[in-house]
Symmetry: C2
Subunit: 333 residues, 2 copies
C-alpha cells in the first residue's frame, strides 16, 4: 500500500495529540503537523519537531493561495481544532478542494447528535455542509464520550486530580447506555478509518465500550471503596438549565462559564437522557459502526482506566480548563 501523507491540524491538542500518536504507531503514514505561524516556536511544537515530526506553518487567516500552498503534497487532511474554533475551517475546506485533498476529515470527534440540539455540533455541521457543497471527499469521525470525562468525584476528593466534570448529577434514571472511548485510543481508530476505502465519504462512529452512568458509579464505588452520592436529575431540569443559560448568555455572550454550562447541559440531554451516544442512534443517523469495521482494535477497557484513576496513575486532560469546569459545574450544576 502506498504511503499516505497526512496533514494534521491540532496535533498539540487533546484529540489531535491522540491522533498524532495513533498515526505514528500505525507506521504507514507520512505526517505533517500544521500549526499557526505564531505557534511554531511554542514548546509543544518544538517538542513535535524534536520527535522528528514535520511541523509546517498554516495561516487560516491568510490568502486561499497561501493555504493551498501549505497543503502541498498532503493526501489526507485531519482537522482537530478546539470546539470554539470550528468556523475557521471554512477557508480550510475551500483551500482543501483547490489543493485536491483526497480525504478531508473535518472536526467532529465527539458524540453523534442530530442538528439543532448542540451549539458546537451545529457549527461542525456547517463545515460538513460546506464540504459537501464543495464535493470534497470526506470522512466524518465521531468517537463517543471520553473515559476522561465520564466519572464523578469521590467524597474523599482523592480523584479530583483528574475529574473532568465535577458534579454528582446523574441524568435521568442513570440507565441510558453511552459509548465510551479512552482519549488515548482515539488515534488508533482514526488511523484505521482514514486508510479504509469503505469509509470514504461516510460518517463513522468508533468507541470502546457501552456503559450506563449507574454502572460507572457502581464500578467506581467498588474500586474506591467509597460511597458516592447520586442525585438523579430529570430531563426537564436540564432543559430548564439550557433555557436559563441561553437567556443569561444573551446578556453575556462570551462568558466562558456560561458557555461551558450550556454545552455541558446540552450534552447531558443528548447523551444521558435521549441516548444519542449509542451505536443504535448513530446507525439511525446513517453512521457506519466502528465495532463492525474494526473488531480487532486493542483498546483500553473502561475498568482498567478507572483503576488507573483510583490508583492515582491517570493523566489529567484540559488541565488549564479544569478551574473553569469546576466553577461552571460545581454545586450540582
Amino acid at each position: 500500500m502506498a504511503t499516505h501523507c497526512v496533514g494534521l491540524i491540532g496535533a498539540t491538542g487533546e484529540t489531535g495529540g491522540s491522533i498524532l500518536q495513533g498515526l505514528i504507531q500505525d507506521g504507514s503514514f507520512e505526517i505533517i503537523a500544521l500549526a499557526r505561524p505564531e505557534s511554531l516556536s511554542k514548546p509543544a511544537n518544538v517538542a513535535l519537531k524534536d520527535k522528528g515530526i514535520q511541523v509546517r506553518a498554516l495561516d487560516l487567516e491568510g490568502s486561499e493561495q497561501a493555504i493551498v500552498a501549505a497543503l502541498k503534497d498532503i493526501d489526507i487532511l485531519i482537522s482537530a481544532i478546539a470546539g470554539s474554533q470550528q468556523l475557521v475551517q471554512i477557508p480550510l475546506a475551500k483551500a482543501a478542494k483547490v489543493a485536491g485533498i483526497k480525504r478531508f476529515v473535518p472536526c467532529a470527534f465527539a458524540t453523534p447528535m442530530p442538528v439543532g440540539v448542540h451549539q458546537s455540533r451545529d457549527q461542525k455541521e456547517e463545515i460538513f455542509n460546506l464540504t459537501k457543497r464543495l464535493h470534497l471527499p470526506y470522512t466524518i469521525i465521531d468517537v463517543g464520550w471520553w473515559h476522561q470525562f465520564s466519572f464523578p468525584r469521590l467524597p474523599s476528593g482523592k480523584i479530583d486530580y483528574v475529574v473532568g466534570f465535577p458534579n454528582e448529577t446523574v441524568p435521568g434514571d442513570g440507565n441510558i447506555p453511552t459509548a465510551l472511548t479512552d482519549l488515548r485510543d482515539v488515534g488508533k481508530y482514526v488511523a484505521r478509518v482514514i486508510k479504509d476505502d469503505r469509509t470514504l465519504n461516510k460518517t463513522v462512529f468508533v468507541y470502546n465500550e457501552l456503559w450506563t452512568q449507574n454502572r460507572i458509579h457502581d464500578l467506581l464505588e467498588k474500586l474506591s471503596g467509597e460511597k458516592i452520592p447520586r442525585k438523579y436529575t430529570p430531563a426537564e431540569k436540564y432543559e430548564q438549565k439550557v433555557d436559563d443559560v441561553i437567556a443569561e448568555l444573551e446578556a453575556n455572550p462570551k462568558d466562558p462559564v456560561l458557555r461551558v454550562k450550556k454545552v455541558y447541559n446540552q450534552y447531558c440531554l443528548s447523551v444521558g437522557i435521549r441516548g444519542e451516544n449509542t451505536p443504535e442512534y448513530a446507525q439511525y443517523l446513517g453512521y457506519l459502526d466502528g465495532k463492525q469495521l474494526y473488531p480487532d482494535v486493542k483498546f483500553t477497557p473502561y475498568e482498567d482506566y478507572l483503576q488507573e484513576v483510583v490508583d492515582g496513575r491517570a493523566v489529567g486532560i484540559y488541565d488549564e480548563m479544569r478551574p473553569l469546569l469546576f466553577e461552571a459545574l460545581a454545586e450540582g450544576d
Copy 2:
C-alpha cells in the same frame, strides 16, 4: 407479509398522485389519503372516494391531539406536499412521533442536493433534522428530475402543450449527466422503498435513466425532425441570476415569478452545472442507490416518453402553473 396501512398527504397532487397509483398497483397496502378538512368536498378528493380510496381529514393547524387522532392506525406516513408548504410538516412530524408512526417519509421527492444551495431543499432539510431530533423512524426518498420537466420547446411550438420549463438554455457544456424519472414511475419506486427493511432510517435515490442535456436535445431533434437552437450558459451566468433574483426578492419576497426564477436557476446550477443529480453524488451524500436495490422495476424509458411528447400523447403536469413558468423563464431566463 402483513398489510401496511399507509397515510398519504398530497394524494391529489402530482407527486402524491403518482405515489397513490404506485401504492394501488402494488396491491399490498391499505391506503388512507389525508386531506385538509376544507378540501374533502373538492372534486379531486371526491374522485378518490369514488375510486374506493379512504379519505380522512387532517388539519395540520389543529391541536397535536387532533393530528395524532387523524394518524390513527397508520403505519407508514408519506408526505408529498407542495414545495412551498414544507414547514407545515413541523406539527406533522411531532404528532407522528406521538402516534407511533413506524416509518415517516417526509417530503423530498426531488434531486439530491447539499444543504445551502436551494431554498426549498433547505426547508425540507429542516424537517429531516426535526425528524431526527424526534428519533422518528424515517425514509427519505429522492427521485431525480422528472421526464416531464426535462425537454426544451420545439421551434414549431408543437410540444408547448406539455413543456414544463420553456427555454432553450443548456447549462454548462450540456454534457453533465442527470438522473431522469418519469413522474408516473415515482409511485412504483416509493411502493418498493417503503416496505423494504433495508431502507428504514436511510436516504434513497431512485431514478430511471441518466441523460445529458445534449443527448436530450439530440433525441428530440431526431424524433421531431426539427432543429433546436442551443444556447449554452456558463455557471457564472446562473450564479449571477440567482444573486440578482435574491436581491429582487428582498423588495418583493412573495413575487411568484421571482420565486420560480430563483428555484429554477438554483436547480440549473445543481443539476446542470455541478452534476448533483447523479448516482455518484447521491452516494457521496450517503444515499442508497435505487438501481442496486430494485433493478427489476419496469419503468418508462426516456425515449418512449419523448416519443409520446412528439406524438401529442403526453399529459401535461402542473397545468395551472404553466403560465407562471412561461412568464418566469421565457426569453432565455
